[in-house]
Symmetry: D2
Subunit: 340 residues, 4 copies
């Protein structure tokens, strides 16, 4: 018999929190016992709760919120999934540099698992499910799409020395507007963003750059430096990354495809597209799926790998629910497979 788990959503009015609430309301094995914003869930709220009140708390809050409460919650053996960046960096110095917060929850931070499910599944199952750690850092939308697009190739290259030019990695991201959050700012108004395409934080200025370098560095056991270029495009949902990697030896598309087929053969949320079909964000909007295509240009010895996800689902709330399912030992796709 499956026991219903008691969960809370902190930050329920933002787009990520709303998406989380939509999914969890229909999840067969959880009950939303609390859903509110950071004002309702204040210091007193967190002090007073006990492990009997909640099994897991989602933080869909701005950066700097989860780290205030996570230490006391995990002591009470309540699982925490933070959808912001607070626990994404093993090295807190990087967090401090890019996010500007001063923190001293070093111990808690070191316990966190970076919850990119497709590449951390066993660790989450082994450690979070057994309560050896209570803390998951849920990746963001650009990073999720980029990691799904590049990891199979980079991992393969890391054990085939000399195959690729490690300094050639470029990620060109195109994001729907909901990824920028639900803030009352002039730059996010309809009339500013409609019929508009614009880059921002180019040339190493975006926070996802160090996050991606950290993940790939760990995955490949080497230092990685890459370029990440985010763009806002006029749609609410959806995100596409176009990723470039240069080869030093001759390669071909068939081999590239084989690497990805092998890497994702058991993944239910990854659609590796057949030849000549390209990812379209509308086709995965509202789902937890990722569409991936791999191309190789022999003339330039360059792979072009594209990946489309729904920024609020696979890129945020959906992946968070995947993580929760692993923590509780539910089917990984529970509550996610029926998304329209």
């Amino acid at each position: 018999m499956v026991v219903t788990k008691k969960i809370a959503i902190i930050g329920s009015s933002g787009y990520t929190g709303q998406a989380l609430a939509k999914i969890l309301t229909k999840h067969p094995n959880v009950a939303i016992k609390f859903s509110g914003n950071s004002k309702e869930a204040d210091e007193k709220f967190f002090e007073n709760i006990s492990s009997g009140d909640f099994d897991l708390i989602f933080f869909a809050t701005p950066n700097g919120t989860a780290c205030k409460y996570a230490p006391q919650l995990i002591k009470k053996k309540i699982h925490v999934i933070d959808l912001a960046a607070d626990y994404r960096f093993k090295d807190l110095e990087i967090y401090r540099t890019w996010y500007g917060f001063d923190r001293n929850d070093l111990e808690t931070n070191s316990e966190a698992i970076y919850g990119l499910v497709e590449f951390k599944r066993n660790e989450i199952k082994n450690r979070a499910n057994k309560k050896e750690t209570m803390l998951i850092a849920n990746p963001g939308c650009y990073t999720t799409s980029s990691i799904l697009a590049l990891s199979p190739l980079l991992k393969y290259a890391s054990v085939n020395e000399g195959l690729i030019d490690w300094d050639s990695i470029i990620i060109d991201g195109k994001s729907g507007v909901s990824g920028a959050g639900r803030k009352a700012e002039t730059r996010l108004l309809y009339s500013e963003l409609n019929e508009n395409c614009s880059p921002y934080n180019l040339a190493g200025k975006h926070r996802h750059t160090p996050e991606l370098e950290m993940f790939f560095g760990e995955l490949c056991s080497r230092e990685i430096k890459l370029s990440f270029s985010p763009h806002l495009i006029p749609m609410t949902y959806g995100l596409l990354t176009t990723c470039y990697v240069n080869f030093k030896e001759d390669f071909n598309e068939a081999k590239l495809r084989e690497i990805y087929l092998e890497a994702y053969k058991n993944e239910s949320f990854i659609e590796l597209l057949t030849e000549d079909i390209y990812p379209e964000t509308r086709l995965i909007t509202g789902t937890n799926n990722a569409q991936i295509q791999v191309n190789y240009d022999a003339r330039t010895k360059r792979a072009v790998i594209t990946c489309a996800i729904d920024n609020l689902i696979k890129g945020a709330a959906g992946q968070a629910v995947q993580n929760m399912n692993l923590i509780f030992g539910f089917g990984e796709g529970c509550g996610l497979a029926t998304l329209y």
Copy 2:
């Protein structure tokens, strides 16, 4: 006294033809003597006209149309500006490979000037204005944006041996939907493209790849191979290219900016943006302007240069009018400066 020139627009129902008609209707020095589609302007039409009927004919027609009529028109000393690809390639073999048409107008083809005004102005003034050539090949939207973004740097690098990695050039393009033309095809329906972002013809499969390589090759006097990745995004007008070039030596953003300031100091349609301001397609929609920003990332030794244009104006009809103005000796911005 300025003499009114008699012009014709062939292909007036497409988006490019419509844009051309809008601009030329208000141009103070021309009279539109004919505007119609390829059926109205058939073989008989072109046989019967004489140099007294038209001073210049615009072809806003599909590929393979202008090359049928241009030879006889230029013999009659009627100027021709083709907005399609028929006369963009010095080497007709490349045209044949990518566009599939069999042609034998070699002589006419060799006479054509590639009308990227900012880089061909003198040639157009000297030769077309003096009727030494009667034929201009007007560049397309992706190519115009890419050329404006990359030419100053590539030209500079071509005389500073060892500065950049010539194999590292990548152009990631994002285009509004009108760039795909006004064809009754399912893939171009509103419901297929709205809330959607999708790449196409990746990894060297797009026709603009050889066009860009030809232009830059000539500009830099060396063979160029590059990657061009087009994407459709949900907006009608506007196009942005994000261009990447790796450096082999240390460089910096200030120097990069200087190169562009120097290159474009006298260009009235190029807005080189100040630091931290990024191009936005909506800000140049409806105008003949290009917005350009240059960024340099010292960590990766990579320049990221972005350029926004209106695909139908600076990327098609507007540039064609610039070309016409040069041909007739009008002010280059005549009819273009007052665009809203």
Copy 3:
């Protein structure tokens, strides 16, 4: 134990057919045994099938298709739900006038139930479930929204003689573009419809006018003449109707709200909004829900009733599934409640 029902979708490539397939794929009690277009499901196809092959066939085909095959199918005791207009009119003369088809399936036509579930539920349960009729005419999107908006008031007025001015009914509809279907026509291109709002078939020229007059006439047992004004607006999904009715006596908003509360108190797919909240199409997109608000202006003695639905779901495929659920005796919301 629930028996799995075997169903077919004819017309699977249109937007309605696609929506139907999405919902039915996840429906726990049906198996899609066939899904294809009218070419695959040709005369031979229908001749060869028997009641053992399919329990129910959905026609998501153009007008004039279902009426070719329904007579033979219902003889074989296979249920038919037509999502087009073929069986919506009791009086075939009206169909002939507005749709231009010559037909002689009078007997079949007379058997059909107009499947606006909220107002025909008992008839469907009693007759279709018992196989006394095998044919449901599924209403279209504009009609569904208009009927949900106006029926409670008109029904109430029909038993309160002198309350409203029966000649004052106006329906102003605003529809997302997918409602126009998936046809390769220039007028439906992205660049034609984006950033555009346009009416069409005004002043009694739209086919939904007689359909609405028939339904309301039957509901109120009187002849009804009304104005229906459709508009296309730039969004893919969603439809809003703004409905006007004049009162002859003084009335008030509280009473109006009471009528609707009473009418819809047991309806799980109708959200009657609280005061000062207006329907928003985005809030019901992807669901089978209708959002309704009722307003009354004492100054002009006029009710303004607004209703938002997803044109492809509650306005087509979702309602068709509601009908199917009633036919088979499943829970009415089966497969619909979990829509994102």
Copy 4:
């Protein structure tokens, strides 16, 4: 010789102010001597200026701003055009009720002309051009479209007693989002308004209701009560009104068309569309034009009249420039005819 007039734009950062600046920058006969927001143009600013500094000042400011400074400006014989509502009501009590401001500039208010050019041209020419009044209240977007759509019919009916049902007037408006202004409010974010259609302030709750009733009342010399229903639809620019009027006698579309042809025969910014062509907002976006179609439904004895304008141009900045041109005796379309 035309003398260059010195003008100021107060409120230059809003959408209306931006549109005004765009048009006036290219106007051949004016020089923008000041352009700034309400903070830069404070009390001191207005105290210090003299008639030599400015010939005319545009207020593209929030309601309640122009009325603070207009009295002193018109004393200095500086023309004032307010694009907000401060001077639109002859009866200040109505303004107070709907806009909530307490004011005592009664004398100034009584001097203002309501600048709906097509119906107030002579008054503006006679009085404002001769400096008998220095104050124009520029109408808003919904009102402009509604007045252009209904005035010819209502005026005709006012001298043909018994023709129409005066209590039957309904205006159903659909507006692009820029009409809501450039305010950092959550409800105006891209992700809230994209793929969304929603009504607001229904059933007599919108401020334009009394403004329309005042204008039509004056035009027809009778009290008018009407319904106005605004809707936001997902586009930046453009506005369409669908207007309904019931007839008491039999009428026909040909006669209706004749009334409009007569009324607008000399109007250069009004496009009365031929039969079966409907207004499309995209076709007038960026211009000062209005597209109007008239339809009559004999079955319901109801006229349906539709009018599309660009909300920021004909509905705001463009009309303000028309007014300015009349004041200074320039050609009425000066600076407006060349809008793309």
